[in-house]
């Protein structure tokens, strides 16, 4: 056996596995519905200027808090802005903000987990201890604190959320790395004197990636809720730009006059977060992975 043959011996079962996973995903109602919903939100996000009937920030003080009717299908808010248009324009903001947090968590967490899992020994001992400690801290409180210190705004808020999520991915990556690094092909590659960085990137990461994909779907759901919470508190997306959390905060202010105005944004947050967590659950079942309990 030569070094060149190593990847192919690993790749073959992976290909067979792939088609089986797709089959299982396609057969799952959970996966189909949540994927279809996320696709819909993506289309609305990209096509917001074409789909939204009105501008999301244009005020009309002659027509405030109008109930849903033929002209404004979800009514207007306290300064006469079209709620439906704001709802649609908020989608790309929430999605990209959540994605930003998750990308930051991946960029910090995955390399850290690979390092700890591959290095082992004292590095792993200390690193894992710190990660466990950081994971036990109350996430949303830290996110609020860090945002307050960095300065409010959706970018800073989601950087904070991403940093706070990163230990979750680090721990998962570490656990996967420790399993994979004992595999025969890794030992073989080490025996051939392959550069450790190459081993980690070419041989360990691809085989540790499945639980990460599942966890990332769950993190998207968590990030979306975090963004909504922070924008609700006035720390995330700043007015006049629309965000689902910000719309809820506004609607709360005139809830006694127009209680129905809390529903569009509330349901948007609930359904989108639910779609990501259910997609994660469907992926978890299709890939048959178990995540470490928090």
């Amino acid at each position: 056996m030569t070094v060149q043959e190593l990847p192919s011996t690993v790749a073959e079962p992976a290909v067979a596995e792939k088609s089986r996973v797709w089959k299982r995903l396609a057969a799952s109602w959970r996966a189909r519905i949540s994927a279809a919903y996320i696709l819909l939100v993506l289309v609305l996000s990209v096509g917001a200027p074409l789909i939204a009937p009105y501008s999301p920030i244009e005020q009309n003080l002659a027509n405030v808090l109008s109930p849903p009717d033929g002209i404004h299908i979800l009514g207007t808010d306290d300064i006469g802005r079209d709620v439906f248009s704001r709802l649609i324009y908020a989608a790309p903001v929430s999605l990209s903000a959540s994605l930003l947090a998750v990308v930051i968590a991946v960029v910090i967490g995955v390399p850290l987990g690979l390092l700890l899992g591959y290095a082992g020994g004292i590095v792993d001992e200390i690193g894992s201890r710190i990660i466990d400690t950081l994971m036990s801290f109350p996430g949303i409180v830290l996110a609020i604190g860090v945002t307050g210190v960095l300065g409010i705004g959706v970018i800073n808020a989601m950087i904070a959320v991403g940093i706070i999520f990163s230990p979750i991915l680090a721990r998962l990556t570490r656990a996967q790395t420790m399993v994979v690094r004992k595999a025969a092909y890794v030992t073989a590659a080490e025996g051939f004197g392959v550069n450790p960085l190459r081993i980690v990137v070419r041989h360990i990461l691809p085989n540790a990636v499945q639980p990460l994909i599942v966890q990332i779907a769950f993190l998207m759901a968590m990030a979306l809720l975090a963004e909504a919470s922070l924008s609700f508190l006035g720390l995330g997306v700043q007015p006049p730009f629309p965000s689902w959390g910000g719309m809820l905060a506004k609607a709360y202010g005139y809830m006694e006059i127009a209680p129905e105005q809390t529903y569009p944004a509330g349901l948007a947050i609930l359904f989108t977060s639910l779609a990501f967590s259910q997609l994660g659950e469907a992926l978890r079942r299709a890939l048959d992975v178990t995540l470490i309990e928090r």
Partner: protein, 315 residues
């Protein structure tokens, strides 16, 4: 008891580095401040003399670790500095607002246990029924539910329409505990909803696992009724799981309270840090985060000890 006391000593020793790491993380927030910390700490539109005075007072011209040491020394002595906004002592702010937050989180925890455990057992007894399926669906819904939105719906129904509870606000739980309880009901219920959904599922799966064990076969063979198995042996066997899950839930409740307090305009730690974050009140943020983190560390310690008492195998 020697095992428990030895364990207690060991755990307390183990949390020392955790507490130190926590203080270090919280102190490091200072490094995140945009610009010169002395300018920020000097408050709004400071004079150059004031900035120099602050730099001297907080030792900001000293090396990082020396600053950290000095800060830690002050914090250990209960000195969290003054709020940058209204010059109130941060320690005083925390002490007045802590009971409110503890009351809401505590009440939510009581609701979670009182409703979640019986519901979980019902799901086990009626496994495969519509009730079981509905509870499982609520379980998945709970993770995705924006708690602050749920609280708005609860306010519309129970406070505005039915008038059972006040819409918002709070009275001092120390001086008027009964009135405070009324104010705390809806916020606690909002917090508890997702937690109940989760605890129900955890109790269900732990109990089903227990019922499938060899141990239960023996109990059945000895002629024990299903109710006896469930309530007497079952609960005892899954108690460690329940306590561990409750610890995680309590941790999350403390975090979610921060958002819920803002919805109900409740003067607790949560609304304190939310206001502070909006106005970049750095010292208040630092103080509240540290107190919350230490609370979680102590909570985890209590969970560990409870598990050790309940399960002799834990060492």
């Amino acid at each position: 008891m020697t095992r428990i006391s030895r364990l207690l000593g060991l755990r307390i020793l183990q949390i020392l580095p955790v507490v130190i790491l926590a203080t270090f993380v919280v102190f490091s927030f200072q490094q995140l401040l945009p610009g010169d910390p002395a300018t920020v700490l000097a408050g709004e539109s400071p004079t150059p003399e004031r900035i120099a005075q602050v730099r001297e007072q907080f030792g900001l011209d000293k090396p990082f670790f020396q600053q950290y040491g000095a800060w830690l020394w002050r914090v250990v002595h209960g000195d969290f500095s003054k709020s940058l906004m209204n010059t109130a002592e941060v320690a005083d702010l925390i002490v007045t607002r802590l009971p409110v937050t503890l009351m809401i989180a505590g009440l939510a925890m009581v609701m979670t246990v009182a409703i979640g455990i019986p519901l979980g057992l019902m799901a086990v007894v009626k496994e495969g029924s519509i009730l079981d399926a509905a509870l499982s669906a609520l379980g998945s819904l709970g993770v995705a539910l924006p708690t602050f939105w749920l609280s708005m719906i609860l306010v519309t129904i129970f406070a505005m329409k039915l008038g059972f509870f006040p819409v918002s606000g709070m009275v001092s739980p120390v001086n008027q505990p009964l009135e405070a309880l009324q104010y705390a009901m809806l916020p606690a219920l909002s917090l508890a909803a997702a937690a109940i959904a989760e605890l129900t599922q955890q109790v269900r799966s732990a109990m089903l696992e227990f019922l499938a064990s060899q141990h239960v076969r023996t109990l059945r063979a000895k002629g024990m009724t299903e109710a006896q198995i469930l309530w007497r042996h079952g609960l005892k066997n899954i108690s460690v799981t329940i306590i561990t899950v409750m610890g995680l839930i309590a941790n999350r409740l403390l975090g979610t309270t921060v958002v819920i307090e803002s919805v109900f305009a409740i003067p607790g730690l949560g609304s304190l840090i939310a206001e502070a974050a909006r106005s970049n009140d750095y010292t208040v943020i630092q103080g509240v985060v540290l107190v919350m983190v230490v609370m979680v560390i102590v909570l985890n310690l209590l969970v560990d000890i409870a598990c050790a008492i309940l399960d002799p195998r834990v060492s």
